[in-house]
């Protein structure tokens, strides 16, 4: 259906063999599409601002009064905003493909680039880059807020809470892991929307996957089931990467937890890619 339109334009370097855009062209096209929609900018700004704001509020609400033991994981507390920011990232990622379906633009896209998996890969790559950038800024803001606020609330080095610093291995793991977490959430959302082809349903499904596991785990009183639920939930497992203390009591180790989320994202992308490849758009 689509072999007549995309005649090679002179001067466009990115065209691959056969006249269609190659990988670079696909990347360039997706980058242009995302860049030129004002929504993308707003959502990226919202990711950073809301994440930092929620983290700041959480830090401001926490005090360690003298003389009491405070079993607080300070880096994790400083990164509380990720739980909020991930929802914005999910919206951004879902809209990256969902708005094409709602406007019918997807047909134009697939006409111009009939190699559909390449389209999805290009979207994933551009999205990952954007989210990694925004996530890095957001995480840096969260840690900075924690570093500025928490020592004044009783979390001092003298009481066993060293100043937040990326030179500290576990803190670096929590920070870098949180950035990766956001990127994986974006990929999971992109894959889910490629499967569902509707941005509203995709957002609902993704947020359901993220938030329902901890809720159900809370009412299950059988400790084994609770542990299993927390091990397979994309959010409960993925956020294990933020823990720096009490690693033994975690349902899953930090990197394994992030691996669970990566498996969810890979599964969603694979399903989305296959359906995109074999289904009518």
């Amino acid at each position: 259906m689509s072999r007549t339109l995309p005649a090679r334009r002179a001067g466009l370097p990115a065209a691959g063999p056969g006249g269609w855009p190659g990988p670079r062209g696909a990347l360039h096209a997706e980058w242009t599409k995302l860049r030129t929609v004002p929504e993308t900018t707003w959502l990226l700004i919202a990711t950073v601002v809301l994440t930092v704001a929620v983290s700041t509020a959480a830090a401001a609400a926490t005090r360690c009064s003298p003389g009491t033991a405070c079993p607080v994981d300070v880096p994790k507390l400083s990164l509380t905003g990720i739980e909020f920011g991930q929802a914005v990232v999910a919206v951004l990622a879902v809209l990256a493909i969902g708005s094409e379906y709602s406007s019918g633009m997807i047909r134009t896209t697939l006409t111009a680039m009939p190699r559909r998996l390449r389209v999805l890969a290009a979207k994933a790559a551009v999205l990952t880059g954007l989210v990694l950038a925004a996530g890095t800024v957001a995480v840096a803001g969260c840690l900075l807020a924690g570093r500025l606020i928490l020592p004044g609330h009783g979390f001092t080095a003298a009481r066993g809470f060293p100043v937040l610093s990326l030179a500290n291995g576990p803190v670096l793991r929590a920070a870098a892991g949180s950035v990766l977490y956001l990127a994986l959430i974006a990929l999971l959302s992109l894959g889910a929307c490629a499967v569902l082809r509707d941005s509203a349903i995709a957002v609902g499904v993704v947020l359901g996957l993220l938030y329902l596991f901890p809720i159900i785990a809370a009412v299950v009183s059988d400790p084994h089931w609770r542990r299993h639920l927390e091990q397979i939930g994309p959010m409960t497992a993925g956020l294990a990467i933020q823990a720096t203390t009490g690693l033994r009591s975690l349902p899953i180790s930090p990197w394994a937890g992030l691996g669970v989320l990566a498996a969810w994202a890979a599964g969603a992308l694979l399903a989305g890619g296959l359906l995109l490849r074999f289904r009518d758009a």
Partner: protein, 530 residues
């Protein structure tokens, strides 16, 4: 854009604009004829039931390692139908239908095990001195010695002064302060038929009435006497990433003198009895009573109080545990409700809609009503099944579910349906404001579900999590709380079993947000071009 031109009088018909009834019918037709939305509502209902049943099948709810019928029988039920703990040491004698009992409490002391590693027949060496805030000792008139029977009692407590308590749930305050030899407390109960009145006094001459209780069905011969009991020692470290409780059994010992009973049978003897020996069994040397002249020394362990979830031991299953799926149903309903509005913007249908019915407020109202009613119906059907069938399944499996009155059960079921309905209306309003379905869905889900997740998972410090469940739309889930917070019971009053606001107040918070969003939606719908 200018509207209202098209809807002038149709030739042949009466000159009329669409009335609200036909706007409503138009919106209902729109909903009904989109198969995806109807299927989505069914999916919402099925999710509620499936998740609710799955979550419960994996629970162990009965304490003390009991299962099956033994579990169900081990928890007595009070006169109000609620599950109760009724275990104490009772020194009693019969009391006729008119009479009174008076006593002076001179000391109240306690011992407890802090480690929680207490076995049956605990040796005295593992105990350390200390009284629990709700250790109780005093006088009691009780229908009989069967656990769960009606009673009224005047008591001194470890940390809450003198109290008048009756029928497990009721608690009225009296003289404050601790009991000691220099500051004893006098207590008196008078019985007149089935009305019991409690008095306290600091000196035995000036009496203050605390209150009266009508104990329905109190037999002509009741049991009256002295009692002592002490609940589990409990230290709650409400913290981050899960609050933990440390607990262990405790004992309370009280010394009474000036004990007087009028209206008893002549020549009645005091009988000591360990009522409802349900908690950790103490050896006979540790609980019991001694009588020397006019002095009684009574030692007991246990509690006379309602059973609540969050005490660490004992049964904790509640009917709302079966409604964990409501969150999944809520997300599905929110998606459909947001789409119901935003789909009109996506296809430009909104212009046709507003042309046909230029009074835009009516369109918004009709959409809100249709979605609210559909959400309510789906939620009601699902939660009736989830609660009635789910609770029966749980009980068949020998899991203990705390009983509640039918009124509470109805409130939880209808409240869950109303929760879905209001969430649907909120999503319609936010969809109108934002006009983008994905953003609207995310906004509503984050506003309602995320604060609950943060409050339940206790990522945040306890105070902040509680604050979130007060001021965000997530407060609405308080409508599902079936067991109230009892001030006279020490427990971990944390979500998901407890909410900081009362059921209707919490629901009111959600309704307030929805009303605000509707007002904003109405304003923008009128002011903005469609």
């Amino acid at each position: 854009m200018s509207t209202g031109v098209i809807t002038r009088a149709r030739p042949g018909g009466p000159a009329r604009r669409a009335g609200f009834g036909s706007v409503l019918r138009a919106e209902w037709t729109k909903f009904r004829t989109v198969r995806g939305w109807v299927v989505g509502m069914v999916v919402a209902a099925v999710l509620i039931d499936l998740i609710g049943l799955l979550a419960v099948q994996s629970s162990i709810a009965c304490g003390n390692g009991r299962t099956g019928a033994a579990c169900l029988q081990s928890v007595p039920t009070g006169p109000g139908g609620e599950a109760v703990t009724d275990s104490f040491y009772f020194v009693h004698r019969p009391l006729a239908s008119h009479g009174s009992i008076t006593a002076r409490i001179t000391t109240l002391t306690g011992r407890y095990v802090s480690g929680g590693a207490a076995g049956p027949g605990l040796p005295g060496g593992g105990l350390q001195p200390g009284i629990q805030p709700w250790s109780k000792a005093g006088i009691i008139i009780k229908a009989g010695t069967k656990p769960g029977s009606a009673y009224a009692a005047m008591m001194a407590t470890g940390g809450h002064g003198v109290r008048f308590q009756y029928n497990y749930a009721q608690d009225l305050p009296g003289l404050p302060g601790r009991v000691s030899a220099v500051s004893p407390r006098w207590v008196r109960l008078t019985r007149s038929g089935d009305v019991i009145t409690g008095y306290d006094s600091a000196d035995g001459r000036h009496w203050t009435k605390l209150g009266s209780a009508r104990l329905a069905g109190l037999p002509a011969t009741a049991q009256a006497g002295l009692f002592a009991t002490s609940p589990m020692y409990m230290k709650v470290t409400s913290g981050f990433g899960g609050s933990s409780g440390q607990e262990g059994p405790s004992l309370a010992t009280a010394v009474f003198d000036h004990v007087g009973v009028s209206g008893g049978q002549p020549g009645g003897r005091w009988t000591g009895q360990d009522i409802g020996a349900n908690g950790p069994a103490y050896s006979g040397a540790q609980i019991g009573f001694r009588q020397a002249g006019g002095r009684f020394t009574v030692t007991g362990s246990g509690d006379i109080a309602p059973v609540v979830p969050g005490t660490g031991s004992g049964p904790s299953g509640t009917i709302e545990d079966h409604l964990a799926g409501a969150f999944a149903g809520l997300i599905a309903v929110v998606v459909i409700a947001a789409l119901f509005m935003t789909a009109e913007y996506r296809r430009g249908l909104i212009r046709t809609t507003l042309a046909a019915s230029p009074r835009r407020g009516r369109v918004l109202a009709a959409k809100a009503i249709v979605l609210g009613l559909v959400g309510f119906a789906a939620g009601l059907a699902a939660s009736v099944i989830a609660v009635t069938v789910g609770v029966r399944l749980s009980r068949d499996q020998g899991q203990y579910v705390l009983p509640v009155t039918w009124l509470t059960e109805a409130r939880v079921i209808v409240g869950t349906a109303a929760l879905l309905a209001v969430a649907a209306v909120l999503a319609v309003a936010i969809g109108t404001v934002l006009r983008r379905s994905a953003v609207a869905v995310a906004a509503v889900v984050v506003a309602i579900v995320l604060p609950y997740v943060l409050g339940v998972a206790q990522v945040l410090p306890a105070g902040a999590g509680e604050w979130l469940l007060r001021v965000t739309p997530a407060a609405g889930f308080a409508i599902q709380q079936s067991i109230p917070h009892y001030a006279q019971v020490t427990a971990q009053y944390t979500p998901p079993a407890y909410f900081p606001l009362s059921p209707w107040a919490g629901f009111g918070v959600l309704c307030g947000y929805t009303a605000g969003a509707l007002a904003l939606a109405l304003y923008l719908l009128r002011r903005r071009d469609a």
